[in-house]
């Protein structure tokens, strides 16, 4: 079934070396010593959930709770140490927009490079090109090297590419923190549009308002484990309880 994501008892282990072995000499001389001092750290453990086609699921958790690790496994960047991961459908990871930009190349060249990184052919990207440029509002700047772009221009181009690749699963990680309010609103509109068209959305944010608005289900991660999986309101309450934090009545949440 396209657009589904299944995690079964997934764990991700990182080895933490007290002193990292990075040279041959150290590896040879410290061959056995370094094995003893390697600490294991489980960034995720026993994580199971299923996201069905067309679902919009939020993922929240404190800093270091394992959100990024989970997203990287879903995007195929990291391979889980244990458990089973099944991703069906074309994933468009918006993990840090513009990750694939080469500063020396123009915006135009970067659109094609980014498209290729996401597995698109040149023909497909040529078809999407005008739409991407229009959405990004870059105009003639598209033929300038991106190193001369402002951070807002960077993010706009990155977002424009990510949402134009017709994903079946869209992974969004804190991308709306950049760009001005008007552009953020435009991005949210585009995300809602994708949601309306049946795209599966996996949304990670610290902005609880947006999570509550966009997702019908929220998963709370805490120290690498799933603490809660259910409706947004109780999930957000649980998240805040775990953090020991209640937002001030007069300030906006997030």
């Amino acid at each position: 079934m396209p657009g589904s994501l299944t995690f079964e008892n997934v764990g991700m282990r990182f080895r933490m070396y007290r002193e990292r072995v990075t040279t041959l000499k150290e590896a040879v001389l410290g061959r056995f010593r370094h094995l003893r001092t390697a600490d294991e750290f489980w960034a995720l453990r026993g994580v199971s959930f299923h996201v069905g086609p067309g679902e919009s699921v939020g993922l929240v958790g404190h800093n270091g709770s394992g959100k990024s690790t989970l997203l990287k496994i879903a995007a195929g960047v990291l391979r889980a140490s244990e458990g089973r991961v099944q991703v069906e459908g074309r994933v468009s990871p918006m993990i840090e927009l513009a990750a694939g930009f080469d500063p020396e190349l123009t915006g135009r060249d970067n659109i094609f490079l980014n498209g290729a990184l996401m597995g698109h052919t040149r023909k497909e990207m040529e078809r999407k090109f005008d739409r991407i440029v229009e959405f990004s509002e870059l105009g003639e700047f598209i033929d300038m090297p991106v190193k001369n772009y402002s951070s807002g221009m960077y993010a706009r181009l990155g977002f424009a590419i990510a949402v134009d690749v017709e994903p079946e699963i869209l992974i969004i990680d804190e991308v709306l923190a950049v760009g001005d309010e008007r552009f953020q609103a435009k991005c949210m509109d585009r995300i809602r549009e994708l949601k309306g068209s049946g795209c599966t959305i996996f949304y990670v944010s610290h902005a609880m308002e947006t999570v509550a608005e966009l997702c019908e289900r929220v998963i709370v991660l805490h120290h690498g484990r799933v603490e809660f999986d259910g409706a947004p309101a109780p999930a957000i309450a649980r998240y805040r309880e775990l953090q020991g934090f209640v937002p001030h009545a007069t300030t906006r949440a997030g």
């Binding site: 080895r15 990075t22 041959l24 990287k72 995007a75 990291l78 990750a99 190349l105 290729a116």
Partner: protein, 264 residues
């Protein structure tokens, strides 16, 4: 073996990305240099002038048409050495991408080799002109030059995969390979003809006969400089060297690919 086949298929799916990465490398490299692509030609030509001065006027190696002989050997050697050295840093250099985008990691070392292969192919016309000027015009034997390039590229790719992966685990690999390629250069018949090795002690000669780069380089010297169709024995040896390098490098890379990200 199955893993290797799967990885090859994965890389093939990303061939357009590979082409774009090669184009990116060439574009970035030649931007803001007035002579641009011309440097690809000037570099080996200047090297040739220096070696020709040293070896035909000072050391009197006594080979007819020495510049052609030298360039024919330098062409594959530069591909092998510069390709491997630049590929060795390709994973470390692209680590920010590898951490975020899931594409087969082999595309990065392959793109490094592809860019050096482009350089080598582009310097072929200059070599042809030089060969004509020195009375060795390209003939039928040049039809085997593409085969020679294919084998040299496959050989380099194997080394590139091995070194790029190794240098993720051990950062001093890149210093080691600098030294390795210097020694390797002098034991490979590039600046001197293979006949020079015949006077050596038999044990030493046996050891040098195992040099896998020698038949690859020889393929170019035979077809371009000697103007002969390469004998089957030579083609067989060069193919063996290329296949072993590619399979060993590929197998190593596939086995260690998932662990790279933990060692950046």
């Amino acid at each position: 073996m199955m893993a290797l086949v799967g990885s090859v298929q994965a890389v093939l799916r990303y061939r357009e990305l590979l082409a774009l990465l090669v184009a990116r490398d060439l574009k970035v490299r030649y931007k803001r240099s007035t002579l641009g692509m011309l440097w690809t030609l000037l570099n080996p030509l200047l090297q040739m002038v220096v070696y020709t001065l040293v070896f035909s006027t000072i050391m009197r190696i006594g080979i007819e048409g020495y510049p052609v002989f030298l360039l024919a050997g330098l062409l594959p050697w530069t591909l092998i050495s510069v390709g491997s050295v630049s590929a060795s840093m390709s994973l470390l250099g692209n680590q920010s991408l590898i951490r975020k985008v899931a594409v087969p990691q082999a595309v990065y070392p392959l793109a490094a080799v592809g860019s050096k292969l482009t350089d080598a192919v582009l310097s072929l016309p200059a070599l042809a002109i030089l060969a004509i000027a020195l009375g060795r015009p390209p003939g039928v034997s040049w039809l085997f030059v593409p085969l020679a390039f294919l084998l040299a590229a496959a050989f380099t790719t194997g080394l590139a995969l091995l070194f790029s992966s190794l240098s993720v685990f051990f950062r001093d690999v890149r210093h080691l390979i600098d030294v390795l390629f210097q020694i390797w250069f002098y034991v490979t018949p590039v600046i001197y003809p293979v006949s020079f090795l015949e006077n050596l002690h038999p044990a030493l000669r046996m050891a040098l006969a195992l040099n896998p780069a020698a038949p690859i380089v020889r393929m170019f010297q035979v077809t371009i400089y000697e103007g002969r169709i390469p004998p089957a024995g030579l083609v067989g040896l060069a193919t063996l060297a290329a296949a072993v390098s590619l399979l060993a490098g590929g197998a190593f890379f596939v086995r260690s690919e998932d662990r790279h990200i933990h060692n950046f």
